[in-house]
Amino acid sequence: MAAYPAWDQDSARMIVAGLAHLEGATLPMLHALQDEFGYVDPQAVPLIAEALNLSRAEVHGAISFYHDFKTAPQPARTIKLCRAEACQALGCESVVAELSAKHGIAVDDHHAGDAIVETVYCLGNCALGPSALVDGELIGRVDAARIAGLCQHGRAHS
């Protein structure tokens, strides 16, 4: 479980400067910042805008367009649960229902505690679903109990 350092404008500036030579560097910068701090603080907007000679609106627009980028610190653990068709065919919606009814975990609800279960559409594990991605590791044939356990694990480590 990655514990992220608090946002630091100076190290953010260095990360941005280190990637400014890339063509179309906005997404690589946003990913690098999120990898470092766990989210992209709104203070990054002027840094990137200045480094790439873009308007702040363009940078903010990019951050808000993509589902991945978070603009506030996130729960200790994010579990991405696939709810696309192949996993639907294998019962992912019952997993969602059971998480809520039996474990009190509402999918996509950021107030659920130190772990969050988030909807994604397709993890490329369509023959072994339902699938989830937990801290970058893919899990196949998941059920609600396993996900609830992973949520507990996230809390224990936070």
Partner: protein, 521 residues
């Protein structure tokens, strides 16, 4: 023990890892150490028999013997049974190459996946790698383009546009900078071939992109990979570094005068980035808003320069074509669909996985013969082909052949070759609602039919599901679908009605619902 360690293969493919391959690899390593047995554990790609994962293979004098699905707990018993020399055990599957699933296939693109060590350049070369590139280097750009045209290769991403014609346009364009862009935003549910290829044979895509660069005169390339594939990302990054270090790409491709610099770029969770113009906007660092065409990306693509944008599987088909000849490739297939198609079988199916075959096998043969029917054991009710924008077919329609035109003739599409099976517990009205919901969430928002149409579609489906004024709401649904089909700017809004209308037309009983009782106060 002899000096030569036993070679044991444990897949490092994400699907295999998702059901415990890492623990199996570790158990084999520690069990072998405890027994003083010298083993070399190769982390290969998956053979595509995903229901058998983790599938361990052992190299023996008679060939590679498979065991699976194996858990870490099985490992001591496997050693006791002498699996390191191919011994009998309940999990023993026999020679991998002779398993039915493998024997039926025509693996051209996936010939090395699961066979080799994905990151070993020496292994890649030993299994025929770089032969296509070497042959391409002896040709002019025009000759390479002609060969790709003659092969009949059509874009494997879904649209099926002839690859050679796209390359010719970029080849003929005059510009100081051209680009090669690999669309690896494999966002369709039911598809995982790109991921398996990157994790199992990354140099193949690098080789295909390099051949494209030489053909059209491009010196820079990008692989736009979706962020949902962290394993593939790691493998690709390492493969590119190794390929550069070995002089395969970079300032001089295999010592030639061609330069080709290649980079992986990560998407950020937006389905629309699989649309080629959105992908280009995203690569440029912007919101991934669809561009109107023309201008074609082939003429004004990345940063306004001529750009080849192809799917992973399209690039991956090229090395084989260059090595074996355009005609040899064209000899596979049917009608105007030439060569082979990597088919991905998923959802509620007993034996799901990757199958590569010439175009022309029927859906029924794939799902029933190879897939063994549903995992739940219940009857098949619906099959979605070609991703979330593809049609739902009924169990009676499965005799259609896998071919661009055959599917189009029944208002369905092949897409990226993904097949998702549903049993009879599926509610097709809910699936139709989901198609709109997905479109509403993932629309780039540029055009009104997609942005607003999808939201209105969800509302209309909610009324139908509640049993409210069914005939009237179905009329609205059809009208809305026609508008989205005719007036959307790209395939996202334009094809969303395909799953919706196929559900409505093939499964009308699911749309004819009694009114929901009012909630008690």
């Amino acid at each position: 023990m002899s000096a030569n360690p036993v070679r044991i293969f444990v897949p490092i493919d994400a699907a295999a890892l998702s059901v415990g391959a890492e623990a199996v690899a570790q158990a084999i390593a520690s069990e072998a150490a405890a027994r003083g047995l010298a083993v070399e554990i190769v982390r290969n790609g998956s053979r595509g028999m995903l229901w058998l994962e983790p599938m361990v293979e052992v190299e023996t004098a008679e060939g590679r013997i498979g065991y699976g699905p194996a858990t870490a707990k099985d490992v001591p018993a496997l050693f006791d049974a002498g699996f390191a020399s191919g011994g009998a055990h309940a999990l023993r599957l026999g020679k991998t190459e002779e398993l039915d699933w493998m024997k039926r296939q025509q693996r051209l693109t996936f010939e090395r996946v699961g066979v080799t060590d994905p990151l070993s350049i020496a292994d890649y070369r030993a299994h025929g790698g770089f032969k296509g590139l070497e042959k391409a280097l002896a040709l002019t750009g025009g000759e390479i383009v002609d060969a790709v045209k003659a092969s009949g290769l059509r874009g494997r991403g879904g649209a099926g546009f002839p690859t050679g014609i796209k390359w010719k346009t970029v080849h003929d364009a005059k510009a100081e900078q051209k680009y090669i862009v690999c669309n690896a935003d494999e966002g369709d549910s039911g598809t995982f071939a790109d991921r398996m290829l990157f994790e199992g044979d990354p140099y193949l895509v690098i080789e295909g992109m390099t051949i494209a660069a030489i053909a059209v005169g491009a010196t820079r390339g990008y692989i736009y990979l979706r962020s949902e594939y962290p394993h593939a990302h790691r493998t690709l990054q390492r493969a590119i570094l190794k390929a550069e270090a070995a002089g395969l790409i970079g300032a001089s491709v295999l010592g030639s005068q061609h330069a080709f610099h290649l980079e992986v770029r990560l998407g950020a969770g937006a389905y629309i980035c699989g649309e080629e113009t959105s992908l280009l906007e995203s690569l440029e660092g912007k919101r991934a808003i669809v561009r109107a065409k023309p201008p074609l990306p082939a003429l004004q693509g990345l940063f306004g320069k001529p750009t080849v944008v192809n799917n992973v599987l399209s690039f991956a088909a090229v090395p084989w074509i260059m090595d074996h000849g355009a005609q040899a490739y064209a000899d596979y297939g049917m009608g105007r669909s030439r060569g082979t198609l990597p088919i991905q079988l998923g959802g509620n199916v007993k034996r799901g996985g990757l199958i590569e075959l010439a175009f022309g096998i029927t859906l029924r043969e794939i799902i029933e013969d190879m897939g063994g029917g549903t995992l739940s054991g219940r009857p098949i009710r619906a099959v979605q082909v070609g991703g979330p924008l593809g049609a739902y077919l009924t169990a009676e329609q499965l005799d259609v052949q896998m071919d661009y035109e055959a599917l189009a003739s029944m208002r369905a599409m092949l897409g990226h070759g993904g097949i998702v099976v549903f049993d009879d517990s599926v509610d097709m009205a809910k699936q139709a609602r989901f198609a709109f919901e997905f479109c509403a969430k993932e629309s780039c928002g540029k055009c009104t039919p997609c942005r607003i149409g999808a939201t209105r579609g969800v509302e209309t489906m909610d009324r139908i599901i509640a049993g409210a004024e069914i005939p009237k709401n179905i009329a609205v649904l059809r009208d809305l679908s026609k508008l989205m089909t005719d007036a959307s700017l790209c395939a996202m809004g334009g094809l969303t009605p395909m799953p919706v209308l196929s559900a409505l037309n093939h499964f009308p009983e699911d749309f004819d619902r009694p009114p929901l009782p009012l909630a008690a106060e």
